[in-house]
Structure formats: C-alpha cells, structure tokens
C-alpha cells in the first residue's frame, strides 16, 4: 500500500519516539531513587517518620564537640536551635573544624544520632553552602 520509503521512515520515527520515551522514563526513575535530600537538625527533630534513605545534614560543628580516636570521629552538628550527634569514620576535608560549617552525608539511626559516610569538602573558609546558611537561619 505504502511505499518502502514511507514505511522505513515511519519505522524510524517510531524508533526515535520509543527511545526518547524510554530514556526519559529511565532518567526520571533513577532520579527518584538517587536523590539525596538535605535536612537541618531542626528539620530532623520535627520528622514524624525516620527516613531509611541516605540524606545530608548540614549546620555548624559545635564548639568543643569533636572527639577523636583511632577509628572514628564524633561530633555534634548544630543549627543553634537543635543539634544532632554524628559518628564518622573516614577522611575529613581540610576545612573541617569546630565552629565551622559542615555538610555530612549518611544515614539517620534515630533523631539524635547520625551515621555519616562522607563529609563534604568545602573550599573556602568564608564560604558557607547556601543550605547551611539557610539551616542556621541565614545572615
């Protein structure tokens, strides 16, 4: 009925359409699974249900709170309203110290206890991630 060319072109079009739909679907699906939410200690306190997924917690490292031994580092993240205990074993970035901003990635054990798997590097002592700035009430 139709010419060979028309058929081929139609087939081609369907193929493109299918691959576009497939890739958009794949991307969105995997985006849903791999998104990491950022929360402040206060937001964690107000959680009704604990999230099992990986999250990021940001705020300031509380003064006099770092405790270190040979296999782990313990410290407290505060947003000056609420705080949360963090345990971490791994490498820390250069600018990790008391009284400075920090972003930790990991899992919540309960509302007061966070097991960090990664502490994110920042590159400038004056620079505060917008998230942290917001979390501690902004200046």
């Amino acid at each position: 009925m139709y010419g060979k060319k028309v058929k081929l072109r139609f087939f081609f079009l369907v193929l493109i359409l299918l691959s576009v739909i497939l890739s958009v679907f794949l991307i969105l699906q995997s985006l849903k699974e791999n998104v990491i939410y950022f929360q402040s200690p206060s937001e964690i306190k107000s959680l009704v249900e604990l999230d099992k997924k990986k999250i990021r917690v940001g705020g300031m490292v509380k003064e006099q709170s770092i405790n270190i031994n040979s296999n782990e580092i313990k410290f407290i993240i505060t947003d000056y309203k609420n705080e949360i205990n963090v345990t971490y074993s791994g490498a820390v970035p250069n600018l990790f110290s008391e009284g400075k901003g920090v972003v930790a990635e990991g899992f919540l054990k309960d509302k007061n206890y966070f097991l960090a798997t990664k502490i994110l590097a920042k590159h400038d002592e004056n620079y505060m991630p917008p998230e942290v700035n917001k979390a501690i009430g902004g200046k």
Binding site: S23, S30, K54, V92, P93, N94
Partner: protein, 627 residues
Amino acid sequence: MLANQIGYYSLTTGLLFSFVLCFVSIKDFNNNNKIINQNVFALSFLQLIFVIISFLSLILSFINSDFSNETVFNNSHTTKPLFYKISGTWGNHEGSLLLWLLVLTLFIFLFLIKSAQQPKKYRILTLLFQQIIIIGFFLFVLMTSNPFNYLFPTPNEGLGLNPILQDPALAIHPPILYLGYVGSSIIFSASLAAVMQNYISKEWGQHIKKWVLISWIFLSIGIMLGSIWAYYELGWGGFWFWDPVENVSLMPWFTLTALLHCILVLERREALTSWVVILSITTFTLSMCGTFLVRSGMLNSVHTFANDPARGIFILIFLFVLISLSLGIFFFFHKENNKVSKNFFWLSKETSILINNWFMMYFLSVVLIGTVYPIFLDVVSAEKISVGPPFYQKLITPFLVPFLLFMAFGPKLKWIKSKIENKNSLFIFFIISVVLIFFILKNLTTDLLFYTTLISAAFFLFFITSKELFFQKSNNTSQTVAHFGFSLLILSILFNGFLSSEITTNIKVGERYDYEKIEIFFEKIEEEKKSNFISIIGYFKITDEDGKIVQLKPELRIYNQPKIITSEADIKTTLLEDKFLVMNIVKGDEYFNIRYQVKPFMLWIWISVLIISFGGLMTLFKKNNEK
C-alpha cells in the same frame, strides 16, 4: 596605579572599536567589492591589541601587588610567589572574564585572516555575530565585574588567593578550558552567518571543521587538567565527582563531539544541515549556561568565588537574547536543501554517525537533568536535594556497551551503502574479549554479567582499533587513534574503579596501623616555613602486601592569608598504579586523619585523554584529500 588606568581605558576603547567595527562592516556588506575592506582587519586587530593591553596591565597590577586595584586586593598578597601572582589574574571572576574577552577577540581576528577563501558576505556576518557576543561581554565586564575598580585608601596588604587555587595545573586550566569554550563562539557565529547566506554546504563543512576541532581539543585537555587537579588537590582520590561544575564543562563536550562527527557527514554528503546548525547553537549556549551557572553562584563549588545576583541576571538576559536571536535566524533563514536525497541506507557510515549522535544526546540529557533538576526543585519547592554519582553511573554505564560496539565497527562502514566485511575476524575478536574478561572479573565484582559485557565491549573496541593502528594501513589514522584512546579511557576507568583500595584511619605520630597485610607507620612530622605558608610534612612508611616499602610524605600547608589549611597529597605514580596518601588535622595536633589509596591505572586515564586529543590534532593537520 598607572597600569590600572591604562587597563580600564583600553578596555573601554576596545568596546568602542566593537561599535566602529559593526558600522564599518555593515557598510562594507552592501558594497559590491569582492574582498573585505582592509579597515575591518585593522580594526579587529586594534581591538585585539587593546584587550591584550588591558589584560597585560591587570597582570602587571598583580605582579606589582597594586592593592589600589580592588581585584588585586581581593585575590592577591605580597608574599605569594610570582607564578601565582600571575595566575591569580585569571583565578578570579573579573580577571577570568577579561580572559574570555581576550579569547573572543583573538578568535575572531584569527577567523578573519584564516578564512580568505570563504565568501565575503559570510565572513562579514560571522564578524557581526561575534561582535554581538563581544559587546555583550564588554558590557558585562564593565558594568558588573570591572577588574579595574579603584580602592581608596590603598590597603597595605591583599586578602590573598584561595590556596587551593595556588597550583600549577590550575594555573593553566582556565585559559585552556576557555579556549575550548570560547572557541565554540566562532562555530556559533559562523553557523548563523552560514544559515543567513544559505551557505551550509560541503565547503562550509570543511572550513568549519578546523574550528570545531580546535575547540574540541582544548576543551578535552581543559577538562582533563581540572580533573587532574581535583584528583591530587581535593584529597578524595577520585578524578570525577559528577559535581555540577564538572558537569557543565562536560555538556558542551558532548555536543561538540556530536558536532565533530556530524560535520563529517556534511562534508561528504551535504546532509544533516539543520542538525549541524542546531548543534553549533547548542554548544555555545551550553558554554554560556555553564558560565552563568558557575558565575551566578547558583552552584555550590570551588568556582564560586563571590555571588552577585546582578551578574547572574545579566548573563541570563544576554543568554536569552542570544538564544532567541539564533533561533529566530534559524527558523527564518534556514532552507532545507533538497538537491541531495537524504535517505540513509541503514548500514552506512552516515547511519553509524547518527547513532553516535543519539548516544551523545542521551548522555547530554542525563547530565543536564542531573545538574539542573536540583536547581529547579529548589526554585519551585525550596527543597534542597543533590544528585549523587550513582545516578549518573546507573544511567550512563549500561549504554556504554552498545556505544563502544558501534564505535568499533561504525568507522569500518562505507559511505552511502555498505556491507559488513571481515565478519569472521570481528566475531573472533569479540569472543576473545568476552572470554578474557569473564575470567578476569570472576573474582572481582558482584555484577559479573553486566561488567563482563561492558568491559568486553571496551576490549573489543581496543582490539579492533589497535589492530588497525599497528597492523593495517588505515586510511583514517586520526579517527582510529581517537577511538583507540577512548577504549583505553573506558578500560582504565573501569579497572581503576574495580581494583582501587583505600584505608582511612586516625593516627598519632610514632604509631603503626595494620590493615590486612598492609602496615602504615607514621614516623615523624617536620615543620618548615615557606614564603606564604607553613608546611607540615608527615613521614610515612607503608609496607604493602608484597613486603615492599614505600615512603610517602603528605603535606599540610597552613597559609597565612587567607588563613586556610590545605593538604597536599603525596602520590607515587608508576605505570601500573598510583599510591596516594593524604593527611588532615582534625582537632589539636594529636591525631592526624589519613587516607591511603592504591589506584591502579590512574596514569592511563590521563594518557588516554591525551591520545584522544592527539587524534583530533592529527585530523587538524591532515591534508583534505584523504578519503
């Protein structure tokens, strides 16, 4: 002081030249002469000279530590070594934009003198479009980020350059990357001009290919330099973090690579004309978007020096104008050329290049969505999220398998209509790769089936291209070299990922730490005073599984201005593996936090990127008469 004034005035003069140039070239455009008015060349040259003077005077202010200049005050310090005083010129927002301008004017001048064989009207139009971009950047620099702002009273000391930027790789990373980014502006202007003149043709393809290659090579090397720097300076031991800032440099690379392949089709068959134009526009738009995202402070990264909403808005408006201008031109002027039949036979070089383009567009959309989605969500719902490496790995790696396979036999196909030759040898190579990888991977990974397929595909490409390189006289060596480099890159990245191991611990001076069969011994620390920092060097003896002892000396630098501690990893590089050790202070000076990594084939990642770029370089210097 004086340099400051000179810099500022030559910058404004440069802007004036833009207007004069536009005026003169529009007049010349309607003139019936066959050749361009000599004044146009002279004006373009003078504009370049003025921007160079302006740039040099900024460098001079940096060298002399002239703190009456605000940019110098914010980013320099008297105790900084000379080399970093100079590189500090483009290590900041204002200076780097001046560098953008410099490259913009340089490229259009080179374009004018190198395009003598092209039609006059097309050249003038290219110049005009490029001048629109240049004027935009001049205004941007002068209005929102003037590098020559005057400070009074003059401060005695500057604030210093962020120490992690005081590094040789990072000193040359911005200029190289910019040559790539800004190089795409010429492709943008030229393709718009060609559309208006209905000049998208085989000849145009041959002529623009050189420019595409130049920016592609610089972009590749620029990305690699940034990656090397991140590897040894940021202390994570990785080379690609899927950080938004890295992603924005990768996106134009995808479109540029797609364009590079597309141009080949244009050159041979005068097909895919619209697609070439769209890709040219997209590449430059993505480069501009990259600048916008990085400079406006929307992305949180190393490159965010200072956030100024006014700058973001300016770039956004400028971007909007450029996009609507180019789309307008594309829709009004572009005529599909119906002379040639554009039906591609399913098994031909054209089709395989189209397939390459599909993959590139897919990779691009993954990276684009992953980068933009968090920003989008933040704007609409104020929810803060980030998209991590698993997202990209999961979406990109599976598609590498067919991509690599197509890369292996696509180039073997002929134009127009082809059939598969040497089926047997292809098949044998494929079986060999699969069997080989199955045994290598059996003990290494959990996801055996998938990685066997993936690495087999990479090895397949590796075998095919190396066979061609070393045993056959290929008629397209440069392409083979680039594809060979790519297979090597994928292989090194994958094996690097599988075989890397790391130990992190907190350790005191004099302590030993045992992990499996590896022993780390922290001998001592030494302190040394340098011109602008105090260096603390840790001496470590590491005994590995085979009883071999390596001495590594990671360093901590406590900079005086700004007061920042950076850690310099010590890396022992050999052909087979890198041994990487970095240390950090956590609290007080009792415990040091150390991270020891063994990273196989690290060197090969850099080498393969160089091979890929070298492939591009070979095409650039190749005579056009090859098949």
